[in-house]
């Protein structure tokens, strides 16, 4: 179980400031939904937590250990026990579904790797697609493969950057049910980025509403519903 805290984070791309003195603690083993308009800094938060980028200012702690501080990365991405599902899914087009998931599994015994991969494919109901290439899959199947690839490493922090955009409601619900079941089983901390207010309300234990790099509101579904913040009420269509 991992607790993540961001303290006074400021970050910019060129002249564009994306996060301004941002502080927040993400609760362990819970799902926090990050919601806000495009460019408000949601994806940047995931990239900073994963260690793919370092903030200009501020500290990121994972389980009370400083992972990043003022442009310096102390814990590299692969040592943070993170699963990251990118917005574009980032499935390797030249690998089959099986290899996409197996790639990077450190266990040297092929049988054990195969067992792990088959198990997760079974869980998502796509075991029959193991030998297919990503371009041979439907949108929903690709999303399941991307999620399965991240979960097979048994992460303690699971970051999802709008991975379920542009798929139909039924498939989306199916995938979210799978993830929730896995979260109950493995108790990972999940950060879920979305711009869909309904999805945020359904998925998150906590919801973080952001605008222009700052937090407008944070709390449970009920607390957000009762928020008097004009931006929150307007953006969440309350």
């Amino acid at each position: 179980m991992h607790k993540i805290s961001l303290e006074h984070i400021t970050h910019r791309y060129g002249d564009n400031k994306v996060l301004e003195d941002f502080s927040f603690s993400f609760e362990e083993a819970k799902t926090t939904c990050l919601i806000g308009p495009s460019g408000c800094g949601k994806t940047t938060i995931l990239r900073l937590i994963s260690g793919l980028e370092a903030p200009l200012e501020g500290i990121i702690k994972i389980n009370e250990t400083v992972a990043t501080e003022n442009e310096r990365i102390f814990i590299p991405p692969h040592k943070r026990k993170i699963g990251f599902v990118f917005q574009d899914l980032a499935l390797w087009p030249h690998f089959t579904v099986f290899r996409n998931i197996a790639f990077g599994l450190k266990d040297r015994k092929a049988e054990k790797v195969s067992h792990q991969v088959t198990q997760i494919l079974d869980l998502f109901g796509i075991a029959d697609k193991a030998n297919k290439y990503p371009h041979q899959l439907s949108g929903g199947q690709k999303q399941m493969v991307a999620i399965a690839r991240s979960l097979v490493h048994q992460p303690e922090i699971f970051l999802m950057d709008e991975p379920l955009a542009n798929i139909d409601v039924k498939v989306k619900e199916n995938i979210l049910t799978h993830i929730k079941l896995l979260q109950q089983q493995f108790r990972f901390t999940m950060l879920y980025v979305t711009h869909d207010h309904q999805e945020a309300m359904q998925t998150g234990d906590k919801i973080l509403v952001m605008n222009e790099g700052v937090i407008e509101a944070a709390g449970t579904k009920k607390e957000i519903e009762n928020s008097s913040n004009h931006f929150v009420r307007s953006f969440m269509k309350l």
Partner: protein, 518 residues
């Protein structure tokens, strides 16, 4: 901290070495020019004759650039934006002249003039040079404008067509959108024509490039050759200054140029006329040169052909071996330079390769000789290393851009996701990046191979003793031999080039099918 320093060292030391090998000769040449024997004035060599020669060279190249750009733009629109059968077939065949060494076409057209008029000088040699340069270089304009046209989103045109006629939309929307491509194709053709040595040399046209070669190699007036070289370099740099950003990215040097949402116009009226026009062009560009060469080479002179084979055959293996080594080195350096530019935000080597790419061949030759002809660097000067370094300078930019554009098309997230799950950098590079870049690397290799195989301008000045290369042999024999012997040798050289193009085309077909991820 230590990791960062060692990473920077691993990048900067080879980068400095490459810069020293390529820029060193040019900087040394600049120093020699500035500290030349004639200290009265650095520009003292500029007299009326020089100015006339510069004017003549510029005028000839301008005519070529206008004609080739016009032809290329029209063909670019026809082949990249109209929907009709055999479009791909025409596109491939019309791009072929870019891969065949220009001197082959020069010899072919000289043969043609001989055949038609009984005398190869019956037609003004300047006109011959314009014809050959135009036919060889218009595919470059076709490629550049065609790529730019493919990248225009259909919505932009359709929104225009809702309000105005096609002609007005073409003038007001399409042409302004492809303006950088039109400008750069004109400038590139102008520079390539201005700095080409082989075609004017075969036609016997005195241009600035051939003059530098003559001053350096025939009259041994090195100081004048160096001064003239800098004037030519300055000309080329000035021409490029306006659009160097677009050329530095060179989106047209790309394996995948097909836009995903490009609007293709279908039409029925005039389709037959279009096919007839394209066939006429194909005949002029490809069929006619081969026929003219074959006629001259094979018309009842079997003895001459076998003599040509006897002379040229020892050079084929050496040329192919050198081209293979050159292409391998260029592709490897191109991959490294492209990675540094696209992923590590280190564009300096790319800029350096752009600079050496636009330096005229004879100027580069002079610089290489002056820099490496010393006892300490004899291991470079007297071996094929000098040719390999020069080829990297001449064609490295093309390879770097083809691979760079390939890298741009790979989402960064594909590498990042591997980083997050702990794949080490080397494994990441060989398992993720290289397989995805294979078509681009292969294309860069093939282009470099054929360019090295046909390079004449620099090779003729710097080829080390004991090396016999196809273009050099043809050029030196051609100076004193009957035209028919030169034609026979050129025909063999054409056959060898086509053999390799076909071989790589077949290998590429297998490779591209294996690595096409729809």
């Amino acid at each position: 901290m230590g990791g960062r320093v060692s990473r920077q060292l691993a990048r900067n030391v080879p980068a400095l070495l490459l810069a020293l090998l390529l820029l060193g000769p040019l900087l040394a040449l600049l120093v020699r020019w500035l500290s030349g024997s004639d200290k009265l004035s650095l520009l003292a060599f500029i007299d009326a004759g020089t100015l006339l020669l510069v004017g003549k060279s510029l005028l000839l190249s301008c005519v070529v650039a206008v004609l080739a750009s016009l032809m290329g733009t029209i063909c670019g629109f026809l082949l990249y934006r109209l929907k009709f059968s055999f479009r791909g077939f025409y596109k491939i065949l019309l791009l072929l002249p870019l891969l065949v060494p220009p001197y082959i076409f020069a010899v072919a057209w000289k043969d043609g003039f001989q055949w038609l008029f009984g005398n190869s000088t019956a037609i003004n040699p300047e006109v011959g040079m314009i014809i050959v340069h135009t036919l060889v270089l218009f595919p470059l304009a076709m490629l550049i404008t065609g790529t730019a046209l493919s990248q225009i989103h259909s919505g932009l045109e359709e929104a225009g067509l809702m309000r105005v006629s096609f002609r007005r939309m073409l003038i007001k929307i399409i042409l302004p959108l492809i303006r950088p491509a039109l400008t750069i194709s004109f400038l590139l053709i102008l520079i390539i024509s201005l700095s080409d040595f082989s075609v004017p040399a075969f036609f016997g046209v005195n241009t600035f490039t051939t003059e530098i070669f003559t001053q350096f190699s025939a009259f041994y007036n090195h100081q004048l050759a160096i001064s003239q070289s800098f004037l030519l370099v300055l000309l080329c740099l000035t021409l490029l200054l306006s659009e160097n950003k677009y050329l530095s990215d060179a989106p047209f040097f790309s394996v995948h140029v097909k836009g995903s949402s490009t609007k293709h116009y279908s039409f029925r009226k005039g389709l037959t006329m279009l096919h007839v026009l394209l066939w006429i062009l194909l005949i002029a560009v490809l069929v006619l040169p081969v026929v003219m060469l074959s006629h001259q080479a094979l018309s009842g002179r079997e003895m001459l052909f076998s003599r040509a084979w006897e002379l040229l055959s020892p050079t084929i293996f050496q040329s192919a071996k050198l081209a293979f080594l050159g292409a391998s080195l260029i592709s490897a350096i191109g991959l490294w330079v492209a990675y540094l530019k696209e992923r590590s935000r280190f564009p300096h080597l790319n800029t350096m390769l752009l600079l050496t790419f636009i330096i005229p061949s004879t100027v580069l030759g002079v610089a290489m000789i002056k820099f490496y002809n010393h006892p300490a660097t004899n291991f470079i000067y007297t071996t094929i290393f000098i040719l390999l370094i020069t080829y990297v300078g001449r064609f490295g930019f093309i390879a770097a851009r083809i691979i760079g554009n390939g890298i741009k098309q790979i989402p960064g997230s594909l590498e990042e996701v591997a980083r997050v799950i702990g794949i080490p950098p080397v494994k990441r590079f060989f398992s993720i990046s290289i397989p995805l870049l294979l078509p681009s690397i292969f294309t860069a290799f093939v282009l470099s191979f054929v360019l090295c195989l046909g390079e004449l301008g620099t090779t003729i000045m710097i080829y080390p003793p004991g090396t016999e290369l196809m273009p050099v042999k043809i050029f030196t024999i051609g100076a004193n031999a009957p035209l028919a012997l030169t034609s026979s040798m050129t025909l063999i050289s054409f056959g060898v080039t086509m053999f390799f193009i076909l071989l790589f085309f077949l290998i590429g077909k297998i490779l591209f099918n294996r690595f096409s991820y729809a």
